[in-house]
């Protein structure tokens, strides 16, 4: 990057998504295996300094400097644990260093209880235009059971504060399949969310990830999880209730009001490129997947020593690309266009694959407007379908 006369910036046709990882939380939830650590104001400050350096280094690279950025996503961790001014600074820096599209989606993950009205206002003014609240459930007992530090009442209050602060694009995360949760609890969570009428809803099923507290409890046999039948009913109920309330299901676990699909997540699912900054962040850039040093201390040292913190990378082979496009594309309700689908399967005609014919005949896959989609019936067994096609 030692050019005397830098070439004028001509936008690369495909825009990039930008992910910024904030690896701090007040406490770890019992189901969480994400890359996050207990919040400490001093460490966070140092971390942001490193992040700032990383922004500069990447912004100057050939693979990024001519790319439009269509979305910025602050994920974590709990990004809202930072001061609004700190977020503001990071965003200002991004605007200066990258080519942010006008109207780029700028999302931030927040936990109820970590924000008040002034902070929300400051974040809005700083440029954040989409908030994603981790609500998970509306029963205080269930929330405690999974280690959340807020109650249902707090979640509602925070939601209205966000509206007051001018946020017109809000997502709520809800979780089903929680220990002790029954179908009725879940319906209440959904109804509560529908009443708040956010622009976007994510309904995630609990997954017991190794190393989490719930996983330990499960192995010790002290976890009463809903049975498979109940879980299936919860998922079906989600689709039914949310669609009835005017939400469009555009991905396996994501729903939105018309026009409010999450731009950032679509980058992942539509197999577009993205740059991840911060500890443990993943990138997909220039045909390679790579990831940063996981531990904040290692991340900072790497940034200091070599400007970036890439810890590992793998080229995406043709074969891998094929599986990924299938796996990601079919998660979208819109599915894959017929041509891409056939290419990914290496067939000229759908009838060339017995499996595809069978899945279409049995109504697990559907063909609509020149696209192959997983049907409503197929959604519950989406993994099985994707695996059969891989």
């Amino acid at each position: 990057m030692q050019e005397n006369h830098p070439a004028p910036r001509t936008p690369h046709p495909a825009p990039l998504g930008l992910y910024i990882h904030i690896p701090y939380c007040a406490s770890r939830c019992y189901y969480c295996d994400f890359n996050t650590y207990r919040f400490d104001a001093v460490q966070a400050e140092q971390y942001l300094t490193g992040l700032s350096q990383e922004i500069d280094v990447w912004a100057a690279t050939e693979s990024v400097r001519n790319r439009q950025i269509c979305s910025v996503f602050f994920g974590g961790g709990t990004p809202s644990i930072l001061e609004a001014s700190q977020i503001h600074d990071v965003l200002d820096h991004c605007r200066a260093a990258f080519m942010l599209e006008d109207g780029a989606e700028i999302s931030l993950e927040a936990n109820p209880g970590t924000v008040d009205l002034p902070k929300l206002r400051a974040m809005r003014e700083g440029g954040v235009n989409r908030l994603s609240f981790g609500v998970q459930a509306v029963q205080d007992g269930l929330l405690q059971r999974i280690g959340r530090s807020h109650g249902a009442h707090e979640a509602e209050q925070t939601f209205w504060l966000a509206r007051t602060a001018g946020f017109l694009n809000i997502n709520l995360d809800l979780m089903f399949g929680l220990p002790g949760q029954n179908l009725d609890d879940w319906v209440k969570s959904l109804r509560w969310a529908i009443r708040l009428n956010p622009e976007h809803l994510s309904a995630y099923g609990l997954i017991l990830e190794e190393g989490t507290r719930l996983h330990h409890e499960h192995r010790a046999g002290s976890l009463e999880l809903p049975d498979e039948e109940t879980e299936a009913a919860m998922y079906q109920m989600t689709i039914e209730l949310l669609q009835g309330a005017g939400f469009e299901q555009y991905e396996i676990s994501n729903f939105s009001q018309p026009g409010f699909h999450c731009r950032h997540n679509l980058v992942y699912w539509q197999h577009q490129e993205y740059l991840g900054l911060g500890a443990g962040a993943y990138s997909f850039l220039g045909g390679r997947r790579f990831y940063n040093e996981l531990l904040p201390a290692n991340y900072l040292r790497a940034i200091r020593e070599r400007g970036t913190a890439v810890a590992g990378s793998e080229p995406v082979s043709h074969e891998t690309l094929r599986s990924e496009r299938l796996m990601l594309g079919l998660r979208l309700r819109a599915g894959l266009d017929l041509q891409t689908f056939k290419e990914m399967l290496g067939i000229d005609d759908l009838s060339a694959s017995d499996r595809v014919v069978r899945l279409l005949d049995d109504g697990f896959l559907g063909l609509k407007e020149g696209r192959v989609q997983i049907t409503a019936r197929g959604l519950l067994v989406a993994n099985e379908l994707i695996v059969q096609l891989l």
Binding site: Y19, G205, E228, Y235, Y268, Y282, L380, V381, I386
Partner: protein, 602 residues
């Protein structure tokens, strides 16, 4: 080359599995300098990876050792390593006939076991001089006195001169070498008589063709000479002769009494059958080696590629394996359920496992193996007699007059307290008791006539678990006997799956049908739709189970940018599917095809 016969000894080491045969062989190689210690890789003679891993010898081979006793003249000691498993008993018998004596290795802790007995009897039949060697005497729980009493009482061998040894520690190995010289007689036979050589093994080398392992009884063989294989009448010109030391070392000639190899441009191991006699074309011997028989596979199973595109690869791999293994057979077979594959014949279960493992390991194939079965001899109503190697080919009851199945004589040795369990098991396995003998040290020798098919099923595993691993088993083929047998069919979603058919005793057919469908219900994973499994005899359904459809398998979680992790999760699921065969619309895992073997009342 020709050494004075008095300075040659041909011997083998025989033992029950794990009694230390290969370790002793290694030690002898080391002591005689055939290999310097630093070049020793544990168990030199077991060259195949599989042999080393499993600690068993699969192929017979020989090695030439030079040994000079203190102040004496040098001796040539030919150690002929024999396969250590009942599947290869014919090869063992041929290897033994190439020797004048045998070291009978017995574990000082385990004592005499079933294979010790079988091997000792075999050695006696061949009139070999037997030198008992009590091995592992360094172990604290060894009981030399007891083992000596067992040797005398059970084997009727004088144990007073048994050699005490620990091959692992190198204790007693000099005494073993001394005993080979003093207690095993030298070979006899005239180098001037017509050539008479016994084939005890052969292997295939892509550059030199078949390498035949031989023991010469009479005459000489040398490059340029024309030899005749007596069972086939095929003649070849000798290109090279030599000895294994332990690497192949060419020699000018091999002479009566010696052990070595012959290379003669032979292209196919099936032409050099173990037990055949090689003689000179010009001047054939009038006395070929007696007792030659063609080894016939006893156990058959279908081998199918999980991906049908691998059919040709499988065929090529089978052809390559057969280059080295004349006792293994295969022919194309078509299964309605499994598509195109091969029906393969093996000497026994171990042989089958070895071939299967080599196909997967060395050739990278993914296979579905159907449950092994014996060969049934079926008399049809038109009077014709057919061999049935595949249960699904059993003629219909209307066309069937008689089914006969192979029986074996099983010798089981175990501590006395397990007699009850062993009787129970043999009873369940349709055994006929032939004898019970109480031996020194509280052990019992039990003999039964048993259908070979029961051995092919789970007999050995069940015997081991019924006796906490203490029982040992050896068996030999007896004869074909009529059985009251019926074909048990399995239907999956109303379609018969030929590869799951089995032939079962009539009186147990209902029970086995019920247990089998239950096992299959556990083994067949849930699918997108319900899977109904039925057992039927003669078209009549006798048991039914169903696998309920997959209800929910969806990852409703956001992994953010970590697409790789998400992909790997799905790829792992995909990997699991590779081990399954699509039968109609149902995916059936490999284990299901083996379930037939493990069907017994709970």
């Amino acid at each position: 080359m020709a050494t004075d016969l008095n300075h040659i000894r041909n011997f083998s080491i025989i033992a029950h599995i794990d009694h230390g045969k290969s370790t002793l062989a290694d030690r002898l190689l080391e002591e005689t300098g055939a290999l310097p210690p630093r070049q020793m890789e544990a168990q030199v003679l077991d060259q195949m990876d599989l042999e080393r891993e499993r600690g068993i010898t699969i192929k017979a081979k020989s090695v030439r050792l030079r040994y000079r006793p203190q102040g004496g003249q040098e001796y040539i000691l030919n150690l002929i390593d024999t396969p250590g498993h009942v599947d290869f008993s014919y090869e063992v018998s041929r290897s033994l006939s190439a020797c004048e004596g045998a070291l009978l290795v017995i574990d000082a802790v385990q004592g005499v076991e079933a294979q010790t007995l079988a091997n000792a009897h075999l050695a006696m039949q061949h009139e070999l001089s037997i030198v008992p060697v009590i091995n592992k005497i360094d172990l604290t729980n060894s009981d030399i006195g007891l083992v000596k009493r067992q040797i005398e009482e059970v084997l009727a061998i004088d144990a007073s001169e048994a050699i005490l040894c620990s091959a692992k520690q190198g204790i007693g190995t000099q005494e073993v070498l001394e005993a080979v010289i003093k207690r095993i007689p030298p070979p006899q036979g005239s180098p001037h008589a017509p050539l008479k050589a016994l084939i005890f093994d052969s292997s295939f080398d892509p550059y030199q063709g078949v390498i035949v392992n031989v023991r010469l009884y009479e005459g000489q063989v040398f490059p340029g000479m024309r030899i005749l294989l007596m069972s086939t009448g095929a003649a070849f010109e000798v290109a090279q002769v030599g000895v294994f030391a332990p690497q192949m070392r060419p020699a000018e000639l091999l002479s009566a009494g010696e052990v070595g190899y012959i290379i003669a441009g032979i292209k196919d191991v099936r032409q050099t059958r173990v037990g055949d006699t090689i003689t000179a074309e010009e001047r054939p011997t009038g006395r070929p080696f007696p007792g030659f028989k063609e080894v016939r596979p006893m156990v058959f199973a279908g081998l199918y590629p999980t991906e049908s595109e691998q059919y040709l690869e499988l065929k090529e791999a089978l052809e390559k394996l057969r280059l080295n293994d004349s006792s293994f057979t295969f022919e194309p077979e078509t299964s309605l359920a499994l598509g195109f594959g091969f029906r393969c014949g093996f000497l026994g279960l171990l042989h089958m496992e070895i071939i299967q493992e080599r196909l997967e390991r060395e050739f990278g194939l993914t296979l579905i193996t159907t449950a092994p079965t014996v060969v049934y001899r079926v008399t049809k109503s038109d009077g014709s007699v057919v061999d049935v190697q595949n249960p699904s080919h059993l003629p219909s009851p209307q066309q069937l007059v008689r089914i006969e199945e192979p029986y074996i004589k099983a010798s089981i040795m175990a501590p006395g307290e397990y007699v009850g369990q062993i009787f129970g098991l043999c009873q369940e396995k349709r055994g006929i008791q032939r004898g019970v003998e109480y031996l020194e040290g509280g052990r019992v020798l039990i003999t039964y006539d048993l259908p070979l098919n029961e051995i092919v099923m789970d007999f050995y595993d069940r015997l081991k678990s019924a006796t906490r691993g203490y029982a040992s088993l050896d068996y030999e083929f007896l004869e074909y006997r009529e059985g009251r047998l019926a074909k048990l069919d399995i239907l999956v979603n109303s379609e018969p799956v030929d590869a799951l058919s089995s032939i079962v005793p009539k009186e147990q057919s209902h029970l086995r049908g019920r247990v089998l469908v239950e096992r299959l219900r556990e083994l067949i994973p849930r699918q997108l739709f319900e899977v109904v499994i039925q057992a039927a005899i003669g078209g009549k359904v006798i048991a039914r189970e169903s696998v309920r459809p997959l209800r929910k398998n969806v990852t409703a979680k956001c992994y953010g940018g970590d697409i790789t992790r998400k992909r790997k999760l799905l790829e792992r699921q995909k990997e699991g599917k590779r081990r399954m065969k699509q039968v109609g619309r149902v995916e059936i895992p490999q284990e299901a095809f083996m379930a037939v073997l493990k069907v017994h009342a709970p």
